[in-house]
Symmetry: C2
Subunit: 175 residues, 2 copies
């Protein structure tokens, strides 16, 4: 299946010059959602280790992270914007394509040695994902890989994530 044809491109969103890759057209299509998530799940089921936690940043990341956690029989750990998580947290700041932002994780979300997959809808500049890696590692977790539905190759996010196993299903070589 050509997943890219299920993605809607919206020019100049959320600001002028950005070609926004809208995944809602893929998500609402039951067959496309099945196939894309099956490919994601199969990739990690073939690994020789058991995943303990799937970690995802709000809010689109939750969609793929929750499905992956369910299918791998792992726990699910949300990363949230500051002030959203009610218990004790640690925080990492990062730059996105558009702005400076931060994510928090509960301190008790990851145990030392937990094997984790970080799961998001989009790899752009890699700032968000790098912050997610740092949060997991600060809690003693082991980042076994990162999944992205879409990778914007031209923004070179992979360079920020060197040494990690990165799996993406839809690639845009240029804007």
């Amino acid at each position: 299946m050509d997943f890219k044809k299920h993605i809607r491109t919206v020019p100049h969103f959320p600001k002028k010059g950005i070609m926004f890759r809208d995944i809602t057209t893929l998500l609402k299509d039951a067959e496309a959602l099945q196939k894309v998530t099956d490919e994601m799940v199969d990739y990690y089921l073939k690994k020789p280790y058991k995943i303990d936690k799937v970690v995802s940043a709000e809010s689109r990341g939750f969609i793929f992270g929750a499905i992956l956690a369910k299918e791998l029989n792992a726990g699910f750990v949300p990363l949230r914007k500051p002030g959203k998580l009610p218990a004790k947290t640690i925080r990492e700041e990062f730059d996105t394509e558009y702005s400076r932002d931060a994510f928090e994780i509960h301190e008790d979300a990851i145990k030392k040695g937990d094997k984790c997959i970080i799961c998001d809808d989009l790899l752009a500049t890699g700032g968000t994902s790098k912050a997610a890696v740092k949060l997991v590692e600060r809690l003693g977790g082991e980042v076994k890989g990162l999944f992205f539905l879409i990778e914007l190759d031209f923004l070179k996010g992979k360079e920020k994530l060197k040494g990690h196993d990165i799996f993406s299903l839809i690639n845009y070589e240029k804007e």
Copy 2:
């Protein structure tokens, strides 16, 4: 399994007087996440109709909605805060326990006659869910039921959703 014992209660969050029911302690527990989502999925698998779309509001709602869509072989439709969805939307405003807010849905997310389940982590006053029902119905969708991981019975959210099939797994009779 006693799901309630996996919920962490945080007093006075996000503001004084609120007993916040934190689901992250359940989500991170692989066994609890499996069991709770299996109960959710089984309930809808027994229905005599095929669900076309699972509709969820950002961001915790995405966690259960995405899993339900995957397991029912349905499409997934996100409801988002204003300005987040890139294509043409319709909007409903609502009151929550804490504030006045709004959700948007893409106009092309639901087709006339689509059988929909609305899926969220929490039923409190029912304002959010009532807005979700209105958005689905304005697009011609048929709301076949609403799922909530947690229902705060004492806030009487069910009264706003009369006539709908409501399924919740963890109930708090009083604050």
